[in-house]
């Protein structure tokens, strides 16, 4: 299977480029879904619109013998190993290229540390008759950022939720994708699908969660004053952020102390309204919300 044959257009009555920004949300996620199914993934869509756009499952050989367009029912026909069920939590970000740039945002709530969380960056109009997927797990993405752009989440905009990343670029003369100067071809289409089919995350989930957390912490606990804050605060804040990570017991105790402080310093109505607001925020999680 060559990169030029994938992704396919699963909807022959219409071209992916015929949709506009306002009416393409459902069709683009369906486009991704059908292309996962094409490679024998079982795909599930959310009942409510939550942060995960699709869940994809397949069974693979733990020794990498399963082809990209296969799922195995019994033991691996090559090495006889028991199949591993792999699950990927897919977040789709669809963009039309602007000046060959795939611009998208990553907010702090997008940074999950379960390594099975996977971004599908879907370029629905690489050119008039070409679509591309850039498929990358959160762990791989954080690792890439740590090696190549360690300040990517230091800006205020990351925490404000409008951190537009404009480094992913398609070079049409080379027919290749780059992040800055770094080649991103290994995440493109079948190459990316091959990477996320590796069962390492599923087999050693605990270790990979901890490693993803380490990477995430190194990237998110950085502060850049930008144009909003006086630069003199940059060192003060970064020194504060560099203090040893508190244990969960310390976090718990500190939060309990603050809860008591608020109870003592708020009238009943105010305290109850705070509790109600927490409930509202918790409910938002699974009742669905607008995502970009």
């Amino acid at each position: 299977m060559s990169n030029t044959l994938y992704p396919i257009n699963p909807f022959p009555d219409i071209s992916p480029t015929d949709f506009n920004k306002l009416n393409k949300k459902n069709v683009t996620e369906d486009f991704v879904e059908e292309n996962f199914k094409e490679l024998k993934w079982e795909v599930y869509k959310p009942f409510n619109d939550t942060g995960i756009d699709r869940i994809a499952i397949k069974f693979v050989c733990p020794n990498g013998h399963t082809k990209i367009n296969e799922t195995i029912k019994g033991n691996c026909p090559i090495c006889k190993s028991k199949p591993v069920r792999i699950i990927r939590y897919i977040q789709v970000k669809t963009r039309e290229l602007k000046n060959d740039i795939f611009g998208f945002t990553i907010k702090s709530k997008d940074v999950r540390i379960d390594p099975r969380h996977t971004f599908v960056l879907y370029s629905d109009k690489t050119n008039n008759n070409q679509q591309d997927f850039l498929i990358i797990s959160i762990k791989e993405l954080l690792s890439f950022f740590y090696d190549n752009c360690p300040g990517v989440f230091a800006s205020l905009s990351f925490r404000k939720g409008n951190n537009k990343l404009n480094s992913l670029k398609y070079k049409s003369d080379l027919n290749k994708w780059f992040w800055g100067q770094k080649d991103w071809e290994k995440y493109r289409n079948q190459n990316g699908m091959t990477l996320i089919q590796n069962s390492e995350f599923d087999l050693n989930i605990d270790k990979n969660i901890k490693e993803t957390r380490e990477l995430s912490d190194k990237l998110i606990y950085k502060f850049s004053a930008g144009r909003s804050y006086n630069p003199c605060f940059e060192d003060i804040i970064n020194n504060n952020l560099a203090l040893p990570k508190p244990s969960k017991e310390i976090i718990y105790k500190s939060r309990q102390k603050i809860k008591t402080y608020l109870k003592d310093n708020c009238d009943n109505g105010t305290y109850n309204s705070m509790e109600k607001y927490f409930e509202y925020i918790k409910q938002k999680e699974n009742l669905g919300e607008e995502d970009e």
């Binding site: 959310p46 869940i55 702090s108 940074v111 540390i113 379960d114 998110i220």
Partner: protein, 205 residues
């Protein structure tokens, strides 16, 4: 999707699960939620905490003059009855955003730590329940069956070729909904006892 399936899925959603459906199999669905690695309680990505000291957003205003806290739903967002200005400050008195007066003033220019314009709040990084720092997706693939004739269920047939985690059976027994949650590999007989929905939730937590 049939009404029984919708009904059971709404019951899970009301109890904090996210539900995912397949186009291919009407009886199978996925339950998933992001939970704390240490205590298993839900992880709330919409909840925010102080970027500087990890204190949970109290969703309250504080008056810069009299120090009184006020609900964000009731306040007019501008000023306190005493005439002081209201800010969404971090309630932790040991937070650097409170201890360093210059920094406090700078952050208050953007409405306070928990004002969305300040860039000083971040999506939950530490568990709301236990303070743990890790989370993961807890996920189950379920096969669902609703019946009014529980004695006629063929469990072997139901579990045949099912590669998921549980078979969930719901029966209307004397006008009361009862449930069985069975691991497909353990299905041997139809003698397991019936449970309430709350007991099923406990098993999946």
């Amino acid at each position: 999707m049939n009404r029984n399936l919708k009904s059971i899925q709404y019951a899970f959603i009301a109890n904090g699960f996210q539900v995912f459906n397949s186009d291919n199999d009407d009886n199978c669905f996925i339950l998933s939620r992001l939970v704390c690695f240490d205590c298993g309680e839900p992880w709330y990505t919409n909840l925010t905490e102080c970027f500087l000291c990890k204190t949970i957003n109290p969703y309250l205003f504080r008056c810069s003059s009299c120090g009184k806290y006020q609900s964000i739903t009731k306040s007019n967002n501008a000023s306190c009855s005493c005439g002081g200005k209201l800010y969404m400050m971090c309630p932790n008195q040991n937070c650097i955003s409170n201890k360093n007066i210059n920094l406090l003033n700078e952050i208050n220019n953007y409405g306070g730590v928990f004002n969305k314009n300040s860039g000083m709040q971040i999506s939950q990084q530490y568990c709301y329940n236990c303070g743990g720092h890790l989370h993961f997706y807890k996920t189950y693939k379920l096969k669902f069956m609703a019946t009014n004739n529980p004695e006629k269920i063929n469990l072997l047939e139901l579990s045949y070729n099912f590669d998921g985690d549980y078979i969930l059976i719901r029966a209307d027994i004397k006008s009361e909904m009862k449930y069985k949650l069975l691991k497909p590999i353990a299905v041997k007989s139809n003698n397991e006892k019936w449970n309430t929905f709350q007991e099923i939730l406990k098993e999946l937590s």
